[in-house]
């Protein structure tokens, strides 16, 4: 055989061989419930089994970092959070990003003026940085801001009528997709729809209870989506 033909034949034969296995080839040719199948969660040798002694856990920060001792004799990294790399990474959006975020997800012509809420959201002074944190008070502030934005910007016949379960489910699914940049689960849609359909029927003001207007009912629900972690965190 000529050398050039050999170069051609080897990969072809290899490809044929690779494709000639049975349907369970990718699982090692074993029944998924076979105790010897390494992909069986009950197999102690399963590489994905966290109890597998041959499967060391992900290294934490202190196991991978270099230690430096500062002038006071204290390790510079002593106050670093200790955690497995790549997990628990959710963070609260900073105040400085919120106005543009509201503009983006609600397709507003301009970013809303949130200057009056700066202190509540813990906006640090110029040239300083503080890790943003949620609190009861700034969550309530976020809810109020969102409510006002929703009340001002929800336009159209849908919002002139009191929400029904079907209409609320549709609108909630749309908001959640837009505000969170992902498809919501049915439970998440239900949680939002409940606010519009059940929770917001009657408001209480200083003079007593009153029937909530349709636009405010929609706004209560819309604001609940904007006050969830899907929007307020990244």
């Amino acid at each position: 055989m000529k050398l050039s033909m050999l170069f051609f034949a080897v990969p072809v034969l290899a490809a044929v061989a690779a494709c000639s296995g049975g349907g369970d080839q990718l699982t090692g040719g074993l029944d998924p419930n076979d105790p010897n199948n390494p992909n069986n969660p009950n197999n102690p040798n399963n590489p994905n089994n966290p109890n597998n002694p041959n499967n060391p856990p992900e290294k934490t920060c202190s196991e991978t970092q270099t230690s430096y001792v500062g002038l006071g004799g204290v390790a510079l990294h002593s106050t670093r959070a200790e955690a497995v790399a790549g997990v628990d990474r959710g963070r609260f959006k900073p105040y400085s990003a919120l106005a543009e975020e509201y503009k983006r997800v609600m397709a507003l012509p301009a970013a809303p003026d949130l200057q009056g809420s700066a202190a509540t959201f813990g906006q640090p002074p110029n040239r300083f940085y503080a890790e943003p944190k949620a609190s009861a008070v700034n969550l309530f502030e976020a809810y109020q801001v969102a409510f006002k934005l929703c009340e001002s910007n929800l336009k159209g016949a849908t919002y002139d009528a009191a929400p029904t379960q079907a209409a609320a489910a549709t609108e909630c699914a749309t908001w959640e997709r837009k505000f969170w940049s992902r498809v919501p689960t049915p439970a998440e849609i239900d949680a939002c729809a409940k606010v519009a359909v059940t929770d917001s029927v009657t408001e209480t003001i200083s003079s007593g209870p009153r029937t909530t207007t349709p636009i405010r009912r929609w706004s209560y629900a819309c604001a609940s989506v904007l006050s969830s972690a899907g929007f307020l965190t990244y």
Binding site: D88, A119, V137, F140, A187, S206, A223, S224
Partner: protein, 399 residues
């Protein structure tokens, strides 16, 4: 640390002299039955932490009389009557009802680095004492532990018994959450809607149980707050009493005003942090006295006047105030000591001291760390089941 100029120096001298005169005019022993009656009310703690350090000349002034450190003289110190400690005259400017209950509490945490010392004062094994105390104090408030105006010291975190530290950064938003008004979204509906928000957040909260712990705590607290009936007190009267304009909590007077607001709304433990106390080189204590006289004491006078002396609300409260810092300042250069002499004022405190230091700012080696202080505070607050154990080291300071 702020620089001393001629004007601030003259101001400090004037205030100090006025304080010294004041302490003589009022005389010792003014303490009616009112304080004893207040001790039976709901407990509240205002914890003031001076970031950088709390010079022992404030709580143990006589340790330095005639020495080369601290600039202590008879004219700038105050003898707390009935066997109390000799403290700086700035503390003697407080209303007699409060200053006559001053005690000095020694905290020997053995740490001279800022972060470790801060943690030594408020933590043990990762547990944050103020949060534990707020949880043990019980009560009906939805915000049981708060910090006013933000900031943080090492160890100031965590959750105990469902209680976490909630930051109060703006009084307007806080009053809105506590009381609401007709221009805002309905409180009850907002509370239910935020419960919905929390339900929608379950996945992300579950993915980041530590990183978003504050968000989970925030949802828990805000929904609990909005379920409660609007708070009846006219909170808008508080800020003018402290001379505070605007609702952002960003100065010390605003922090103490916010602390009063939170205490009146039922919060158990309020933490107010103040920066600028890393007073290296302040050998005569001039700068720290100036800051104490101009920034810390004036709003505290108002605070005690409104909550101790002239509390017309008719709600009995046992309000305790604790002033401490990372550590005392060491002699002679006003650097880092390895313990702190805290000042505690409460209706149940019995004038005395466990915090007297040597003239070189040495601490009694038998003193406990921060846990001992919290054992004492729990006793002063009359907490039924203290999570810190019995108050043994400072038992003499409770009447």
């Amino acid at each position: 640390m702020s620089k001393l100029n001629r004007r601030s120096f003259l101001k400090a001298v004037g205030i100090g002299a006025g304080a010294a005169v004041g302490t003589r005019l009022a005389g010792p022993g003014f303490m009616g039955d009112a304080a004893a009656q207040m001790a039976e009310g709901s407990p509240h703690l205002l914890l003031i932490h001076l970031q950088g350090g709390y010079n022992a000349l404030f709580g143990s002034a006589d340790s330095f009389t005639g020495g080369t450190f601290g600039g202590v003289t008879a004219g700038n110190s105050f003898q707390v009557p009935n066997g109390g400690p000799v403290v700086d005259a700035s503390l003697g400017r407080l209303p007699p009802m409060a200053r006559n209950k001053i005690v000095s509490v020694g905290v020997f945490h053995r740490q001279s680095a800022h972060g470790a010392a801060q943690a030594g004062g408020i933590t043990e094994g990762g547990a944050c004492f103020p949060v534990q105390l707020a949880a043990a104090m019980g009560g009906q408030a939805s915000i049981k532990c708060a910090t006013v105006g933000g900031g943080s010291i090492q160890g100031m975190t965590g959750t105990a018994g469902g209680v976490s530290i909630q930051n109060i950064a703006d009084v307007r938003s806080t009053i809105a959450a506590l009381q609401g008004n007709d221009t805002l979204p309905d409180r009850a509906i907002s509370g239910r809607a935020l419960e919905g928000s929390q339900a929608m957040s379950a996945g992300r909260l579950g993915d980041s149980p530590k990183g978003l712990e504050h968000l989970k705590d925030g949802y828990d607290t805000v929904t609990a707050t909005l379920k409660k009936a609007p708070a009846p007190y006219a909170f808008d009267r508080i800020l003018p009493a402290y001379g505070v304009n605007g609702t952002a909590v960003n100065g010390f007077a605003a922090k103490i005003a916010a602390a009063e607001l939170m205490i009146r709304s039922g919060t158990n433990v309020v933490m107010a942090l103040d920066g600028g106390w890393d007073s290296h080189g302040d050998r005569q204590g001039t700068n720290v006295r100036n800051m104490m006289n101009t920034r810390i004491i004036p709003p505290l006078i108002t605070f005690f006047d409104r909550l101790w002396v002239n509390n017309t609300e008719g709600v009995p409260r046992n309000v305790v105030v604790c002033i401490m810092g990372d550590f005392a300042r060491s002699a002679p250069g006003s650097d880092h000591a390895n313990g702190v002499c805290a000042t505690v004022i409460g209706t149940r405190t019995k004038p005395g001291t466990t915090g007297k230091v040597t003239n070189t700012v040495g601490f009694n080696p038998n003193l406990p760390s921060g846990k001992g202080l919290y054992q004492m505070l729990a006793a002063a607050l009359k907490v039924q089941s203290s999570p810190f154990g019995p108050n043994t080291a400072h038992a003499a300071l409770i009447g």
